[in-house]
């Protein structure tokens, strides 16, 4: 047995991996910095009325009451352990099958069908559960691409993708540039150009990843664009991932076309097999803390692999049990979806009207928990720095945390994402008031 060496005669600090020390997670961007400012000085109606109002977090709090009523009063099955009592708990606590509770998968499939007005069917056995859409997106990337390959993603996009799609996977994001000339819709030219850019750099493109409805635009992707995208993916023999996390938050159901609807009428397996959908309960149901996400794939290999890979990120069996009966109660979910859409639409109108009165225009949106606001006219320098300076002013002077377009990789400066669903109507009014006052002050000078 070796003797214990007395002192450390080797002054080496042990090293970490490249993944650990890289900043590919993108969490140093203003998107996350604003959250910090909010955490340090959070607005509270009574206790801290001059605090920072959080408008940088896309959380849906407008329909909690509906959930509360259901879960606490009308759902004995989910809120207790049913007639089984303690043994029911034990059975659930022991369940760690990566297939997930069948009842829960069926409930998710049914919920997803309802959101799409029955225009697409979902097979519960194609649903793979993950602890959040964040995990779902990363998992899909691990499965569809190898390190140094790329996914094409239209800009502006959700800042979290830098982490979710790139960090551990080693996969690159090649942007499909969109701009306000056509309301930031994806054009065939932009798509081809992005693909070519990757090819020129000798990077293998494995797929296109879109968010529909879009974050941060707050708008649905047009049906013809979806059809074109699918066609493009077939021609290039690549995958199409559609992150439909905001599908239940479209203000008018008729305005949303899911890629599932398009695939529904296609028999050709080689076409269907490249389509994958990501969904989560975090936005539509306002349950981000529950960590419930899902991958829905038309590709058997992907389903099989995703299921096994989901071992790293399973959804708690307790959570599955809690939500299964609620989500399969079609009467409840029908009502919930309808009322939620209504309330979000109303919020959207309030904020857009309020901004308009202050002389600020927004992109015409029809979905989501935020609006895409244009402050380009306020920029002294029409550069990224100019935008960040303005963002800083809004954070420090107006005490509003909004998200600058640069953190969403928007190629046009001056756009900001403003969330409106994570606060009371009162707070929203206060935020609008601060903006009005700010605009008044600027007009005077």
């Amino acid at each position: 047995m070796m003797e214990r060496s007395s002192n450390n005669n080797n002054n080496n600090v042990v090293e970490l991996s490249r993944v650990a020390v890289s900043d590919t997670h993108g969490e140093d961007s203003p998107y996350f910095a604003g959250w910090k400012a909010y955490d340090e000085n959070p607005y509270d109606e009574s206790h801290n009325p001059s605090g920072v109002i959080q408008m940088g977090l896309a959380e849906n709090q407008v329909s909690f009451d509906l959930l509360e009523t259901y879960l606490e009063k009308k759902n004995p099955e989910g809120s207790m352990w049913g007639s089984k009592g303690a043994p029911g708990f034990r059975e659930n606590a022991l369940f760690q099958d990566y297939h997930g509770l069948k009842t829960f998968r069926q409930a998710m499939a049914s919920f997803m069908e309802q959101i799409r007005g029955g225009k697409a069917r979902f097979d519960p056995d194609r649903i793979v559960l993950t602890a959040g859409a964040t995990a779902a997106n990363e998992l899909l990337t691990f499965i569809l691409a190898d390190p140094n390959d790329a996914l094409l993603v239209p800009t502006p996009y959700y800042p979290g993708f830098d982490r979710d799609l790139r960090w551990r996977t080693g996969v690159k994001i090649v942007p499909i540039h969109c701009d306000s000339s056509n309301h930031f819709q994806i054009t065939p030219e932009a798509l081809e150009s992005a693909y070519q850019t990757a090819r020129d750099a000798n990077i293998r493109v494995r797929g296109v990843l879109i968010t529909n409805p879009s974050n941060p635009l707050g708008a649905t992707v047009q049906k013809k664009v979806l059809e074109y995208l699918l066609d493009f993916c077939v021609r290039k023999n690549i995958h199409l991932v559609s992150d439909e996390i905001y599908s239940g938050s479209v203000f008018h159901a008729s305005e949303f076309t899911s890629v599932a609807e398009i695939v529904e009428n296609i028999d050709d397996v080689s076409v269907k097999e490249r389509v994958h959908i990501v969904y989560s309960l975090s936005k539509d149901l306002g349950l981000p803390g529950f960590r419930v996400g899902t991958i829905y794939s038309y590709n058997d290999n992907v389903v099989r692999t995703a299921r096994r890979m989901s071992s790293f990120t399973l959804v708690s069996s307790q959570t599955q049990h809690m939500l299964a009966s609620m989500l399969s109660d079609e009467e409840f979910t029908d009502k919930y979806i309808r009322i939620n859409r209504e309330r979000l639409r109303r919020r959207y109108e309030i904020i857009v009207e309020g901004l308009k009165k202050a002389g600020i225009e927004c992109l015409k949106g029809n979905a989501g928990l935020f609006c895409w606001m244009n402050l380009g006219f306020l920029l002294e320098k029409k550069t990224k720095d100019g935008e960040l300076q303005l963002w800083d002013v809004i954070l420090k002077e107006l005490k509003l945390n909004i998200s600058p377009g640069t953190s969403c990789h928007c190629s046009e400066v001056g756009w900001f994402r403003v969330c409106f669903a994570n606060m009371s109507e009162n707070t929203l009014e206060i935020a609008l008031k601060r903006i009005h006052e700010f605009m008044d002050r600027r007009r005077r000078f």
């Binding site: 047995m1 970490l16 509360e68 207790m80 023999n237 529950f290 992907v302 071992s311 790293f312 307790q318």
Partner: protein, 557 residues
Amino acid sequence: MTRTEPNRSRSSNSDSDKNSGNGGGGRTTAMRVIVPLQGVVQGRGGLFLGSVIPCAFFYFLQFYLKRNRKNDESDNSGEQNSSASSSSSPNSGLPDPTRSQSAGHLTELTGLPRSLSRILLSPRNSGGAVSVSGRVNCVLKGGDSSPYYVGQKRVEEDPYDELGNPDGVIQLGLAQNNKLSLDDWVLENPKEAISDGLSISGIASYEPSDGLLELKMAVAGFMSEATKNSVSFDPSQLVLTSGASSAIEILSFCLADSGNAFLVPTPCSPGYDRDVKWRTGVDIIHVPCRSADNFNMSMVVLDRAFYQAKKRGVRIRGIIISNPSNPMGSLLSRENLYALLDFARERNIHIISNEIFAGSVHGEEGEFVSMAEIVDTEENIDRERVHIVYDLSKDLSFPGLRSAAIYSFNESVLSASRKLTTLSPVSSPTQHLLISAISNPKNVQRLVKTNRQRLQSIYTELVKGLKELGIECTRSNGGFYCWADMRGLISSYSEKGEIELWNKLLNIGKINVIPGSCCHCIEPGWFRICFSNLSERDVPVVMNRIRKVCETCKSQN
């Protein structure tokens, strides 16, 4: 069941992975050279025979090889599809991964006759199946046939039930602990058992990704209790995540780059092949321990493994130990642990100490010493190389709730882990449930004590029974496993002999145990038997089943 993907054979997954990737590339390169040549030489009689015949032979060889591979995989896919969903696409067999990669390349080449690519594409595909990553191939090739997976499946299809299915397969392969009775707690606290009595709005929002402080405090308390309070764990050094697999994977991502390796003494947990290697590209170098040493780690052997790796150009970033060990259930001595720390310090590497069974120490011999206790008095520079993995699901029998933890003294590792765990966080209603269940120190003490007592009683029964059958086990003082010596029953001292016995145990004995090869044990004939999900009444049933198999073996041998 959370499946792990150990390979049946002892070769690593990464080898087969590399082969499939390179093979595909090599073949297409060859194609690119040969096709134009064929056109050139066809015009010249003299060179005709010399060139075309080898080319033709080469093509037919390709065709033959691809056809054979397709047959292998359609067998596997047949098995898979029967257990998998009622798929909407009936002809969804496994497309040959290399074929699809080739197909992708072929369509990009100009001047290549379309008819050629038709031979290589699956007839039903119009443009070729879209290809997936190398990681998929690795899963699809390796996983399905391993005893670990096959055994699980059998249990699922035909599970033993005392009354309902007394001839069913008894699960002795999966570490589930139903010894611990939280039934009392659940009966007394029905609301907490679901949502801590909080309203939805109290638990629904985004929360710190690495876990609520309250829960971290409770977990730290639980971990301390497991060490009989010889260590006081600091909650701020905890990162919570959804399972031990995730914890180990996160640490693998943080401590090693793709292509590096960890040293792992064997036999070890079958799960490491997936958790450490799969998505990270990090490799494992097994350091075999022998029955002659009671499967204790030898520093000499460890040293040799380190330098051999270095000579081959493989950079070792750390060593992964488990304590109590899986599968032996032994407790590492203080001496061992200090020696390990020295070893790590001298080579400037990390130590991952997998202490997921810390709260399940049931034996009276020896004491459980956490790595945290060892580094308590060390300088920072050494503390920073130690990382502990803990898992509530083992000690509390909560595997479905997905709650494990990384405990580290290294702030950079903690910082990276906090961000990485956003990809595998603990669900908030579960966090609140756990807070209720384990915040009360008295409750924790009771849980740990009860767990220990029950494990000890079953362990004793099982080992006694096995001894009567002539099967000895190594002394296990912690965890859920017996590490049983069945060398006397195998027909040949080889992996083949071991797998034959495993088959008999599964098909004749109807018990699912894990053969030592899944644990990368270098000596054939050892088996891992999990006893934590057995009741006292089950033990005689298990014994009878094993006796039946023993008799079959003796009559055959």
